[in-house]
Chain length 230, copies 2
DNA sequence: GAGTGGTCTAGACCACGGG
DNA sequence: CCGTGGTCTAGACCACTCG
């Protein structure tokens, strides 16, 4: 009977790493040797070590073998839910208010961010997400109608642009930048906080292949924290 | 000849998801059917779909099968390097200055965060990380000497606590909280910014099993952005 | 050139959990 | 109960890369 799973192999490897039985900077045995020692197939060892390498706890290279990194670059995984789910996941009642919806020329920084041609117009959205009727997050978004033509017909008073896009243009690529900025006068009004208050911000751009879909800046009300585990 | 890899299966699955050939909320074929259709082994399909599920693009449950989620919770991966590598990775010269090193009772919020007994003393570190001789990040750290006794002998003028711990107590578990806060007068002095300036902050706690190792708050100089891709 | 991880296969058994 | 994904195996070939 085989009580050996890839998880148990992984746990044993992790133990050896943490106990420095496999010291930082050192090579560890080959997959084949480990498989024999632990009494399982090489594929099982492979699965276990591959997962550890993806988390940054091991470095693997063909021919060079597997080693414990001296300065591990750990990987943390962030969940990116739609804002409604973020609020509801905290056990709070979600609310939403559309503030502005317009079609206009974007400012230069948005145009260059999305690599648009000079005269390309975008749909501009400003919306407030609420938790227990308190301001939670201000969404300042630009949408490329060429990438998602149906968006022009979306009823943004019933569903947030955030949610609409996740449901209709999801599964695409993009990048995030997290930072802090001072609340502008307008943001302070909407978020009901002092002007200049420190706000946690998420800037995101989304692409369908080479076609830009949307750029958004989310400004969270003071006190918001984004969490991750490792 | 087998031109079929799990990556190609994954790409095909992704295409069907994005093209809505597999619509949101809908079931997709079983692994066995897909394997037959695509002409590969079930294990290959499994690997491809498992990876998509880990990224949040599919939901898999035994017996219920695999479906495309209506509101996908995307997963983004963050790299957590040591600060020196973060700076050097930007092509800048790294510098470091130890500001304070003390052994004392932690404030209540740190004590409860690390679940310490009332009279447990910790080592308190305050240090500044520099990029091109400009303030980059302020490190405010508490270390549990019971968890890492050797830390008491570390020469923190030569190596940052951040780096020492990564090299000597790495591979442990922990959690992160990202947020924004206003620069205190002291932080403003060290970071050379106005008091009250919005700072991007990372709070982290690290554990070896049930034993708390360290709690740290990193305050980044104004303008810092943390990036991730999806 | 040769060693190491990367991957595929065909088959098998198992565990979870929906109906 | 029993279908579906989760996993293990033994063997094979391949691709990368170090020496």
């Amino acid at each position: 009977m085989t009580a050996i799973t890839w998880q148990s192999v992984q746990a044993e490897a992790l133990r050896r790493i943490r106990s420095r039985e496999w010291p930082p900077g050192g090579q560890i045995p080959h997959e084949a040797d480990l498989a024999e020692e632990l009494g399982c197939a090489r594929a099982t060892v492979n699965r276990a070590l591959r997962d550890l390498a993806e988390a940054g706890l091991l470095e693997r290279r063909r021919k060079a073998g597997t080693r414990v990194p001296l300065n591990p670059v750990r990987k943390a995984t962030l969940d990116i839910p739609i804002i409604r789910q973020d609020v509801e996941g905290r056990g709070q009642a979600y609310g939403y208010r559309l503030i502005l919806r317009d079609t206009t020329l974007p400012p230069p920084e948005i145009r260059s961010l999305l690599k648009l041609k000079p005269k390309q117009t975008l749909i501009h959205i400003l919306a407030l997400h609420l938790a227990e009727a308190m301001p939670f997050c201000l969404e300042d978004r630009w949408v490329n109608p060429d990438a998602v033509p149906e968006f022009a017909d979306a009823d943004l008073s019933a569903i947030s642009a955030n949610e609409w896009l996740v449901q209709n243009a999801a599964f695409s690529a993009g990048d995030f930048a997290f930072g802090a900025s001072a609340a502008t006068a307008e943001a302070a009004t909407h978020l009901n906080c002092p002007s200049g208050a420190p706000l946690f911000t998420v800037e995101r751009t989304t692409w369908a292949a080479a076609l830009p879909i949307t750029a958004v800046c989310l400004s969270y009300a003071p006190g918001y924290k984004m969490r991750a585990e490792i």
